[in-house]
Amino acid sequence: MEHLAVWIAALLTLGIISFLYKDNAWYKLSEAIFVGISAGYWFVVLFWDNVHGKFWTGVFPPEQYDAAGNVITEAPDYMLWVGAALGILMLMRLIPKIGWISRWPLAFIVGSTSGLYLINYFSSNMMRQVQGTIMPLFGMWPTDPTTGETVFQALPTYDIVGNVVILVGVFSGLVYFFFSKEHRGVFGATAKVGIFFLMVTFGASFGYTVMSRMSLLIGRVDFLFGTWLGLIK
């Protein structure tokens, strides 16, 4: 069984890789297996984790005993029925006549997502990032504990340059995203600087993505030449 397993895995791996040469029957077979298996995998996992694990065991908690034999079964959570009801409304789509009901659970999901994102992004990606950008450019003003005097303490040049770069980058980048003003004159020039920063960001992202993809390929090569063929020491 172990030999069969590793061969199946290797043949499927090669099947996907063969797409690099051209679209072919081996690839199509692997692809079809993949589409079917992955759809089935999620179908099963979501059923057990969500429908069974969350809903069923939540409303019909299995009996449990602690070490002393006392019943410690949890109280059923009736609120979960609402979720099941929404889920069933969702399936109404299968009946064309009352398919419109499925908009209710949809509205529920869209609404909760909007509310949650509004707050999460506002606090973490805006407030916190604004706070992160506000920093002393050139140095700190710590209070000397012995004399009680406030003294200026300059930052190293490296940090000053870094701080200025961050400030300019964030500022000009945001200017680029202004929609209600034409990019002209000083405003346009600032937006241009903003684009430069965005491009550096994309370049760095690109570099990191290359790194990531290559790592994953290395992982497959390790499988083919190591686990399967045993050629890697």
Partner: protein
Amino acid sequence: MKFDLGTARQLRILLLLLAMALATVVSTGAVSAQGEPVDRVDPDVTGEPMIDSVAMLPADSIPDEAYPAPPTDIAVKDTPNDDGGSIDISWSLSIDDYEGGKVDRYVIMRAPAVNGQPGEFVEIGDVTGRANKVRDGNATEGEAFFYKVVAVNREIRDGVLMWEATTESEAAGPVASSAQWFDWRRLNVFVGVILLCAFILYFINQAQKGKDLFIRKIAGLEAVDEAVGRATEMGKSIFYIPGTQDMNNVQTIAGVTILGRVAELAATYDTWLEVPVSRSLVMVTAKEIVKEAYSKVGRPDSFHEDQVHYLTDDQFGYAAGIDGMVVREKPATIFFMGAFYAESLILAETGNSIGAIQIAGTAMPSQLPFFVAACDYTLIGEELFAASAYLSREPKLLGSLKGQDIGKAVVLVSIIVGVILESLGIWEFSKLFRVID
């Protein structure tokens, strides 16, 4: 445009909820505004020598000088800004508690209040020496408790616990935990959200009154017409990929909203639009949207149920599926609008290799470089969210863009002011933006 019944009702309910929240905040005004951070409670022993066995000597053989002085000034109070069930305990360290002193750890004891007097004390947890506060997270809401803090000195020789000398503090209490109706630590976020929403709503209102709002050209969106037109000329199809995430991602919502506009164009030109999706919920929504678009331009019969179809939830299963379809059907135009992960590259490169016009939009920074490189036009981040407003030219939506810009202006001004103040040694301003207490 006027608010129809549905929206007006919703607004009213929103206002009602807000008013309710504010009213409860005011009525429970007793809530303390300063939620001082409390150190983590560690009910388990940490950072101390391992005890392999216990050889406890009788209490009278413990030298008298081994007993530490008790901790003093035990203060107990309901944990502020929480939903109840939690009490903060703090104290002044025992005078024998210093590095190398006589206190190894503090044991926290709790007793329920019986007729205003402490009942039987039981141990509920402990902290290492030098700690002066803990949080009891198991105090049933509404029940009153008394607390004691016990200083513990221990002798451990070669992993054998020889003796334990303990001194109890006085009992403090009674105190009961309660839940609060407003988290004062989040007041700044509250004000910020209200302000931003106010800007947006103000400009939506202005736009509805007919005020002309200028919106600059966004290249990627100007090209949508051209891209659909080209597909029509070539007699080929259009693919629309609304990302690979579910409806619980706002980018997907933005993506399917733009799909509505594209579908209207496709229906007008009578060009085949195909929408393969990777989430069942997205399929449901996208079907609705495309159907709606077709009937809006008066071609409900041209709509086919199978125009929008599900492939698989799996990211690469989906990418592989699309790949095959693109190579075989060779669409003239491909749209990528929504949240993408690694599959963006496969999709965009394959589309590029068959020479399709590609317009992409995503707020996933890691995927933007590939779209920028392999697509003809790319909407970057915020531009994706602006797209549906821009394409529809609906005043309400354009107004919200203007409101966003005001938000951006506030951010820019705050950053500049903040940096200047901070460079001069004035810290208070940046604290307005803190999110952790």
